[in-house]
């Protein structure tokens, strides 16, 4: 491959823009693409994908040669994430075609999730997918086996003011879909975890089995500001 072609290729890739964040439009009007974007690539959600290429005779598992291990990290405590989940449910069940009575019932059931009380907690969810079944099984077993105690020295939230905030509660992933839930206090000693001073918040999870033992996901707090207030 010539240098010029490689340069053009890399430049093209790096030129790809980041996703925009929907904030103005009410969530029940979001199209599917927008809801997915909020859940996967927004101010409150990131995908951290670790890759490797396997080589050699007989390499790979079930024919896979490029292994993709993706962690989906989301702030469930942030209302836009919950709104996106609800919107997905609405779209999935063709909410727009419901009768008013059905809509009322549907809203009644989704509302508790939407209005989940996170006044005291910041909730991070982590889901995982790999195209290598062995890696997926291994990480799933790891997340299932953890408790708050075992994660006290492995899972942290960090801000400029508070490095390594200790986990307060942990809920392993169920078969449903949100992933493992890591719960952190919103205040420490009466001081808010997040203030306008810091500009970043980082979620860290270490000692994960497999080829990528360290998950570190950094979010911009500025991007989380909606109507002058940090939504977290």
């Amino acid at each position: 491959m010539s240098l010029s072609i490689a340069t053009l290729l890399f430049t093209s890739i790096l030129a790809a823009g980041a996703a925009e964040i929907p904030t103005e439009e009410p969530f029940w009007k979001w199209p599917l693409e927008k809801a997915v974007q909020v859940l996967n690539s927004s101010a409150w959600a990131r995908q951290e994908t670790f890759t490797r290429v396997v080589g050699g005779v007989g390499s790979g598992v079930s024919g896979e040669k490029e292994i993709y291990n993706t962690f989906y990290v989301r702030f469930l405590s942030a209302r836009p994430i919950r709104e996106a989940f609800v919107r997905i449910q609405q779209l999935q069940h063709n909410y727009e075609s419901f009768t008013e009575e059905e809509k009322r019932r549907f809203d009644g059931l989704t509302q508790p999730n939407l209005e989940m009380d996170t006044s005291r907690w910041v909730v991070v969810t982590v889901a995982f997918r790999s195209n290598d079944p062995n890696e997926e099984s291994s990480v799933r077993r790891y997340l299932q086996a953890q408790t708050r105690e075992t994660l006290k020295t492995r899972a942290f939230l960090s801000t400029q003011r508070f490095p390594q905030v200790e986990i307060a509660a942990y809920f392993p992933p169920r078969e449903e879909g949100v992933g493992a839930k890591f719960v952190f206090p919103r205040e420490l000693g009466g001081i808010p975890l997040v203030t306008g001073n810091g500009d970043k918040i980082t979620f860290e999870l270490t000692d994960v089995p497999g080829a990528n033992p360290r998950l570190r996901s950094t979010f911009s707090l500025k991007a989380m500001v909606v109507n002058g207030k940090i939504i977290l």
Partner: protein, 911 residues
């Protein structure tokens, strides 16, 4: 169905019938409210905070279901949404997933190997790798997954060698330029032709199997394109089952069967190999409480292996050659003896690389492993303790093959090794006598305790201590013997004793039981200390340092080479002719005027496990978002490494070696001792970019400087092993590897949007480029002398060196890789001064590139993948190691190259 999932129940009920659905839904809401209240009021088993905090309970129960089977709504592509948004939603009951694939290569796609003759069709090559995987979430708690993979390789070789011409086989050396002396007279043969009547009858029978040259190059005059065949089938199955939130089980089984046909530089002297490996694994974990977690594992593995000469089963073959004194155990032992001619391709030599020497090799190994681990978390400490025990068995192990004999023709008598062979006058003759079967047992165990202590957000400290009990393998039979006293230069008097016998006890080998060769090293305590410092209070920048002491037990190879392979159970006899006059005759080489020597294999019974100190310092830094840099230094110092000491070795000199040995009643002693050491220094830098903007990269540079005096062959001077200390030959010095994936951002909705192309856009979407690129230095090697010039009975003689031997890169070629003139034959009966591992083989450059197109076929995840892979994409000739035997016509020349470019096409269907 779990009634805590209100939306699911409601929607399911709605799907059943409008009326029934509404009734059920109303009940569900009521039940759910009750459940929630109960959950909030009772002790929750997941984590303690839930007990007292309703908001945590609501977080715990936050669930999103998008499961059309449960909901009954299939109005949109729900599975597509689910898989895009939430990976875990695909885990629904009854969901099946898997793939079917085929990877194909053949010679029509491939480039020519550097040494393949131009104008000829490439050697045949067919390679098919195919398989399927299948998984199902049988229930929400049970996941079953299985795979099958088949591999069929039929690959023509490109093995170049030097074989005698038809004229030489008739005794006519007139065209060679080598003057052939008649050993009876010491004068040249008339016309440089050995009379037909003088050609030995054994040689006549062997000549039938020797090929004629098929190439015009006088040095590389024979090419063997016979196919290497590798066939393998692998099956694996795995079950994950969750009994409860606290108890989980994993079970797995795998089997792999492989059948290979290997080739030798000469056709019809190849070998076959059959292997069957099976393993069963069970692991069970149970959480007694959130801070007390246990895990148990049971693993059983069985490896059956059989390597045979391609002539195995040919009853009477060896006997038909007419060499007296050779006796095989059974038909699996059949085959040709090993004939080594200096300067020519060996006949049936080169065991392991396709030759027959050292075959048959059989082995049936069983390994049962039980491990248990407890994790206990208390405050900022995380304690781990546990243990493991193994039960190792090796059955019907055979490593022989020397029963068929080995004969070296060095050319001492006529001036040419092949001419010596024609006359049937070997320089040395070696044979194995007896049964080399071993049945071994070992039961190692280990206990450990570890603590990870997080002092504060910046400092973490870890410490562990393990105790390893690793006994040496023990023979099931009473067949382990020693030469006593075992010292490096055996005294004139000594005797061979069987361990565990009364005589052994009398001579001081107390406590060494029958079948036991080595006292168990009971002092293997392994401490480890580690420190991590995060100056920023998070893992963006982390410094780590650790120090550990570990022990490396003697490996199975050492056990196999020393248990049951000594007189009187199995022994190797060697006869050597004086160089001045041939005294061995190929018809009856072990019963000639020259007495045979008994070679002793031995292991120091007090040998201890190798002691390894290792330390490292590393720095991890997230230099930009998604970009991580890690720089590490690793040091290692290993002492008491095992090495083989050649003992009872004659000093260089004239005359028969046997008469000059310290103990002339025996031959050479090969004693395994712990006299070797190694020091390792590695600088390692890794730059990684996680996948973002469709691009990911893993790059690694390492610079390895390893020095050792471990030798894997004979030393130059067995009495000066310090001179063997050199840079290690195994690892390349500098190595750079790049591993990258580029998901090309082309298509609808991508950075390079092709929506405007309409349906044609489909062709441009979903392309991926990936690859592995490796650049690495060559590996160290050194020239050797042909035969045993100093006549000490040890063959690792090195030449004298009068210059560096290194050629400027621009002047290197396959005919002259190093300055051959910088090496000279040393004075006769003296040691050469050339060092070990002073030259480098050619380096390697490899580009493996894949272009992949993945096309989604349906919204529920079915996809088709088409792949084009190029291995060694730019067809760089990665040359093999040069021939390094001084005094031969091939000295400094290269005869082979690694694989040329191969192209693979693949098709894969995923569901």
């Amino acid at each position: 169905m779990n009634i805590r999932y209100p939306i699911i129940l409601l929607l399911s009920a709605m799907f059943l019938s409008p009326v029934a659905g509404r009734i059920l839904a109303a009940q569900a809401v009521q039940n759910t409210e009750k459940e929630t209240q109960q959950a909030n009021g009772r002790k929750n088993s997941v984590t303690e905070p839930v007990e007292s905090d309703p908001s945590l309970a609501s977080i715990a129960q936050y669930e999103v279901r998008m499961n059309e089977q449960d909901s009954g709504f299939v109005r949109v592509g729900s599975q597509t949404i689910a898989s895009v948004v939430n990976p875990f939603t695909v885990r629904k009951r009854g969901r099946m997933y898997g793939s079917v694939y085929e990877y194909h290569r053949n010679d029509n796609f491939d480039a020519r190997n550097f040494f393949d003759p131009v104008g000829h069709r490439l050697p045949e090559y067919k390679r098919n790798q195919f398989g399927l995987s299948y998984g199902v979430f049988a229930t929400e708690k049970l996941n079953i997954f299985g795979t099958f993979e088949g591999l069929r390789i039929n690959k023509g070789s490109t093995i170049l060698s030097h074989v005698p011409t038809p004229e030489q086989k008739r005794g006519d050396f007139s065209a060679t330029g080598i003057t052939i002396l008649d050993p009876l007279t010491g004068l040249p043969f008339s016309n440089n032709v050995i009379p037909e009547s003088r050609i030995h009858p054994v040689a006549r029978k062997v000549l039938v199997r020797m090929p004629d040259p098929n190439q015009s190059d006088p040095d590389r005059n024979f090419i063997n394109n016979q196919p290497v065949i590798n066939n393998a089938n692998s099956i694996s199955a795995r079950i994950d089952y969750e009994f409860s939130r606290k108890a989980k089980l994993f079970a797995g089984y795998s089997i792999r069967e492989a059948n290979d046909i290997r080739v030798n530089p000469l056709p019809d002297f190849g070998s076959t190999a059959e292997r069957r490996n099976q393993s069963v694994n069970l692991s069970y974990s149970y959480n007694f409480s959130p801070n007390l977690i246990t895990a148990f594992r049971l693993g059983f593995g069985r490896e059956a292996e059989q390597e045979l000469s391609s002539d195995a089963g040919s009853d009477g073959l060896l006997q038909s050659l007419g060499i007296a004194g050779l006796k095989i155990l059974d038909a699996n032992d059949e085959g040709f003896p090993s004939f080594d001619f200096a300067g020519y391709a060996s006949l049936a030599g080169g065991g392991g690389g396709g030759g027959q020497a050292g075959l048959p090799r059989t082995s049936y190994r069983n390994n049962l492993e039980v491990t248990g681990n407890v994790t206990w978390v208390r405050k900022s400490h995380r304690f781990n303790f546990g243990g493991e025990i193994e039960f190792n068995q090796v059955n019907d192990q055979r490593t022989g093959g020397t029963r068929r004999g080995r004969f070296d023709f060095t050319g001492y008598f006529t001036g040419d090794g092949f001419a010596d062979f024609l006359l049937g006058i070997p320089n040395t003759a070696t044979r194995g006598v007896g049964s080399d079967r071993s049945d071994l047992r070992r039961r190692p165990w280990k206990l450990y305790v570890a603590d990870e202590w997080k002092l504060n957000p910046r400092f973490s400290f870890s410490a562990s201590l393990a105790y390893n009990y690793t006994p040496f393998y023990r023979s099931m039979h009473d067949n382990v013997s020693f030469f006593h006293p075992l010292v490096f230069e055996p005294p004139v008097s000594g005797e061979i004793i069987v361990t565990g016998s009364e005589r052994a006890e009398q001579l001081g080998l107390k406590g060494l039981k029958k079948g036991q060769a080595v006292y168990t090293d009971k002092n293997d305590w392994e401490p480890r200390l580690g420190l991590a410092y995060s100056p920023l209070g998070n893992s963006r920048l982390v410094f780590r340092s650790s120090f550990a002491i570990t022990y490396s037990p003697l490996d199975l190879r050492r056990a196999l080479g020393n248990i049951g392979l000594n007189y009187p159970f199995f022994y190797i006899e060697r006869a050597e002719s004086p160089r001045t006059s041939p005294e061995l005759d190929l018809s009856n080489p072990f019963n000639s005027a020259t007495p045979t020597e008994l070679t002793i294999r031995a292991i120091d019974p007090t040998i201890r496990n190798a002691y390894v100190m290792s330390w490292n310092l590393s720095q991890q830094y997230e230099i930009f978002r998604n970009w991580n840099l890690e720089v590490a230094y690793q040091g290692r110092r290993a002492v008491r490494n095992d090495g083989t000491l050649a003992s009872n070795v004659a000093l260089p000199g004239e005359g028969t070696i046997r008469d000059r040995r310290p103990n002339p009643h025996f031959g050479r002693f090969d004693i395994v001792t712990d006299n070797a050491s190694a020091s390792v220094n590695i600088l390692n830098a890794q730059l990684r970019k996680r996948l973002s903007r469709s691009f990911s990269l893993q790059s690694e540079f390492s610079w390895n400087r390893t020095f050792t005096d471990e030798t894997f062959g004979d030393p130059n001077n067995p009495r000066n092993l310090r001179a063997e200390r050199s840079i290690a030959g195994q690892a390349p010095g500098k190595r750079l590897s790049l591993n990258y994936i580029i998901d090309l951002p082309i298509g609808r909705g991508k950075s390079l949007n092709t929506a405007w192309l309409g349906r044609v856009s489909w062709l441009l979407e979903g392309w991926r480029l990936s690859g592995i690129t490796t650049f690495q230095d060559g590996r160290p090697f050194n020239p050797r002398l042909r035969g045993d010039r100093n006549n000490d009975g040890v063959s690792g003689d090195r030449p004298d060196r009068i210059g560096s031997g290194v050629l400027p890169a621009a002047e290197r070629s396959i005919d002259r890789w190093f300055v051959t003139e910088h090496f000279l034959a040393p004075e006769q009966y003296s040691y050469g001064n050339s060092g070990r591992n002073i030259l480098l083989t050619p380096g390697e450059r490899t580009w493996d590139i894949s272009v992949v197109r993945r096309a989604r076929l349906t919204d529920d995840g079915k996809a088709l993948e088409i792949r084009l892979q190029m291995f060694n994409a730019f067809n760089h000739a990665n040359l093999e190691r040069p021939y390094a035997t001084y005094g031969t016509s091939t000295f400094g020349k290269i005869f082979g190259a690694n694989d040329s470019r191969e192209i693979e096409i693949a098709l894969k269907y995923s569901f």
